[in-house]
Amino acid sequence: MTDEKKRILVLGVGNVLFTDEGIGVRAVDEIERLYDVSDNVTLMDGGTLGTRLMDPILNCEHLIVIDAVLGDGPAGSVYRLTGEDLRKSLAFKDSMHQTDLVDTLIMCEIVGNRPEAVIIGMEPFDYHTMAIELSPVAKERQEALMGFVLEEIANAGGTFSKKAVPGPTTQEREPCA
């Protein structure tokens, strides 16, 4: 790194249709609503993972993924997993996905650029019920989760500031027509 700032991608992933599985997407939406971030930071709703995320991942140097993570803690626990630990600790055997995050990162490595990656994740309370609202536990811990993500952004060389006027919430937004 010279004086060029690291390109940081903040990728919220998960399926917003399954309660807390959408915590990553909700968090990234909320950060976008409340904060202005520096030019080297891209906030992105990645939805459910797949090879189509390779382009943005290949184009960043530091990847911060926000996701639901099954650890051993109580619902709402926030975890930090780093790239090399991911490889060791997370089974990508029998992935339920076409390609999961670890597969996608390995593919990025093979193609030539595997960015430094970190996952900031939260233990979900419920990730089975089809509902678009987070569980009360996850909702209550969302701000803490966002705090850790912002800290991660700062550590990676990004900056942020609170917007004077926050953007509209999903409920306030008119459906596009």
């Binding site: 992933v13 998960g14 399926n15 917003v16 249709l17 399954f18 599985e21 709703d45 939805g47 459910t48 993972l49 797949g50 090879t51 189509r52 390779m54 382009d55 290949l58 996701d67 993570v69 099954l70 650890g71 051993d72 626990s77 926030v78 975890y79 930090r80 997993l81 780093t82 630990d85 060791k88 600790s89 997370l90 089974a91 990508f92 055997k93 029998d94 992935s95 339920m96 996905h97 076409q98 390609t99 999961d100 995050l101 670890v102 597969d103 390995i106 593919m107 093979i110 193609v111 996952i119 900031i120 979900p124 990730y127 089975h128 089809m130 509902a131 678009i132 459906p175 596009c176 027509a177």
Partner: protein, 565 residues
């Protein structure tokens, strides 16, 4: 081996009798379980069971019809756009808005880039490992591999050094145990799996192109994002047209063109020749894995209201009779639930569809899937690339006829070979190639409209109090339909009939097997512990079972290095 025509090998057989369960089937989207009974090395009974409940229909009730697309495209991590399009088309249809020509072209161009992306990824990254033994590639002679590869297309200029580099890269992966993307592949194991029988050089060639295709799919995805505003969840379709005004700029169009041109060249010089080369060694699979009935709604309209205006024609081929293709009539669709985890036994048309879950248990042989069983005229129908290609071939669609004849001639087989696992995989390549060749036509039409001053992308409309509508999309995986009933301006009922329920659904009320079940009957199993033969046929359908759960599971590994914040 280069120069000499490969001969069909006899399919390796075993004498195994007993159950074979693949659960979950990997390298697909979602969770599918295949429960087979094998007698003397052949499948004699089989159930295809989807283990994920999709309750989208329930969550959509009472919402604004315009919002449906934002929910339906989240059902899945792969087919996001096709759901957005089907939802948009069904509301377009319900509110009776006629969208501008350019909007149709934009929708087609985004769809085309999705086809290019999905079929490329399917062949190289989801399906190839069923045919290609990456471990065996390490034994290949890089110089001979270069000769083989360059003999397949005049535009290939590959070198021994490049193939050697791939061997080193893959060798390092295998040695480190960090197999990653190859984990659980059925070519792994102490004993060689005899069901794989490509020469080492063909294995190495395909492995290199697996890696090259990773680069190429990134470009296809980028093309999709240029017109689709973003990827994976496109944000440009609206009831009444599209909103990607930025995509009308010449520099955006040029960007899309450069990317799709490059991907198209890769399809012509690599995908199709590789497909034909691999197929040449596995010709025995032209007699395994076939089904009987096929259905397609066609795709790429010029007039959204007219199914007959679609570039790939709509239609059916029943009882394998390509001499008498039929017309697609949506009134003939019914969804059965007698063998699914839903209440009741009634087979209903989608407008009258009910989604009332009633789970029994995993080992129930009577009700055994979260999928309903769609039937057309009471018949199970395969949909997807093979259906599109067979219908187009049967109806004399020239670009498809030419491509099919080229493939059949190269492989030295007749049209009967299409009704097979190999035929299905070849059809996907054909559909991809024919689509790619059509992109410049749509792009030129768009450019000439814009030059003539027509930049219309949206037609205003009014929400009716009551209406019903349907949106048909022939997605990369097949026939997708969304059905909406609007009451007081809100969604009263919404049903999705998705490609994978057509192809991978369970038995119907009349006890007829679903297409993948039918296709698996009689399939030889050489090694019951590594039943790659099941994967070949199941993957050839490109299953995509709405992704529900993807939570990272930290329980399954060493979790010691977790840092709790």
């Amino acid at each position: 081996m280069s120069g000499s025509k490969p001969q069909a090998k006899p399919t390796p057989q075993s004498n195994y009798s007993g159950p074979v369960i693949v659960d979950p089937v990997t390298r697909i989207e979602g969770h599918l379980r295949i429960d087979a009974v094998v007698e003397k090395g052949k499948i004699v009974d089989v159930r295809s069971s989807s283990q994920l409940f999709r309750g989208l229909e329930i969550i959509l009730k009472g919402r604004d019809p315009r919002d449906a697309q934002h929910f339906t495209q989240r059902a899945c991590g792969v087919c996001t756009y096709v759901h957005a399009l089907a939802s948009t088309r069904c509301v377009d249809n319900a509110v009776k808005v006629k969208i501008p020509k350019n909007a149709t072209l934009m929708r087609n161009l985004v769809m085309a880039s999705q086809y290019l992306h999905d079929h490329l990824v399917h062949f190289y990254h989801l399906h190839a490992l069923d045919w290609v033994n990456v471990a065996n590639a390490l034994k290949a002679d890089p110089a001979k591999t270069a000769v083989l590869s360059n003999s397949l297309s005049p535009n290939r200029k590959e070198t021994a050094a490049q193939f050697k580099a791939v061997q080193d890269k893959v060798g390092a992966l295998v040695a480190s145990g960090k197999l990653g993307i190859f984990t659980n592949a059925y070519f792994l194991g102490e004993k060689k799996n005899e069901a794989y029988y490509l020469p080492a050089e063909a294995d190495l060639m395909a492995t290199k192109h697996y890696l090259d295709a990773l680069h190429m799919q990134v470009k296809a995805a980028r093309a999709m994002a240029i017109f689709g505003a973003k990827n994976p969840h496109t944000q440009f379709t609206v009831v009444g047209g599209v909103t990607n005004y930025d995509a009308l700029k010449p520099e955006r169009i040029a960007e899309y063109k450069a990317l799709t041109d490059e991907v198209t060249a890769f399809i012509k010089d690599f995908y199709i020749p590789d497909l034909l080369a691999v197929a040449g060694f596995y010709k025995d699979w032209a007699a395994i894995g076939g089904t009987t009935n096929f259905i397609s709604c066609g795709e790429y309209p010029t007039d959204e209201y007219n199914l007959d205006s679609r570039f790939f024609p709509q239609g059916t081929v029943m009882k394998r009779d390509i001499a008498k293709p039929g017309n697609f009539d949506s009134n003939q669709i019914k969804e059965h639930v007698k063998h699914s985890w839903y209440a009741g036994e009634a087979a209903l048309h989608p407008y009258k569809g009910v989604t009332e879950p009633k789970y029994t248990n995993l080992n129930d042989k009577d009700r055994y899937s979260w999928m309903k069983a769609p039937r057309y005229n009471d018949e199970a129908c395969e949909t997807g690339p093979l259906a599109t290609v067979l219908v187009a071939f049967a109806k004399g669609h020239k670009p498809t006829v030419d491509a099919v004849n080229f493939v059949l001639k190269t492989l030295n087989v007749g049209p009967a070979a299409l009704f097979s696992t190999l035929g299905r995989t070849a059809a996907r390549g054909i559909e991809c190639l024919v689509t790619a060749n059509q992109i410049p036509v749509w792009l030129n039409a768009l450019v000439s409209n814009v030059k003539g001053g027509d930049t219309e992308l949206y037609t205003p409309w009014k929400m009716p109090d009551e209406a019903e509508g349907v949106g048909f999309v022939q997605a990369p995986r097949g026939l997708l339909s969304h059905w909406i009933k609007i009451k007081k301006g809100k969604i009263e009922n919404f049903q999705l009939v998705v490609p994978s329920t057509w192809s991978l659904g369970p038995r119907c009320a009349n006890g007829k097997l679903g297409p993948v079940e039918e296709a698996l009957m009689g399939t030889p199993i050489f090694d019951p512990a590594r039943p790659v033969e099941i994967l070949r046929t199941v993957h050839s359908f490109d299953p995509c079972i709405a992704c529900g759960v993807h939570v990272l599971d930290a329980h399954t590994g060493k979790t010691a290095s977790f840092k709790v914040l």
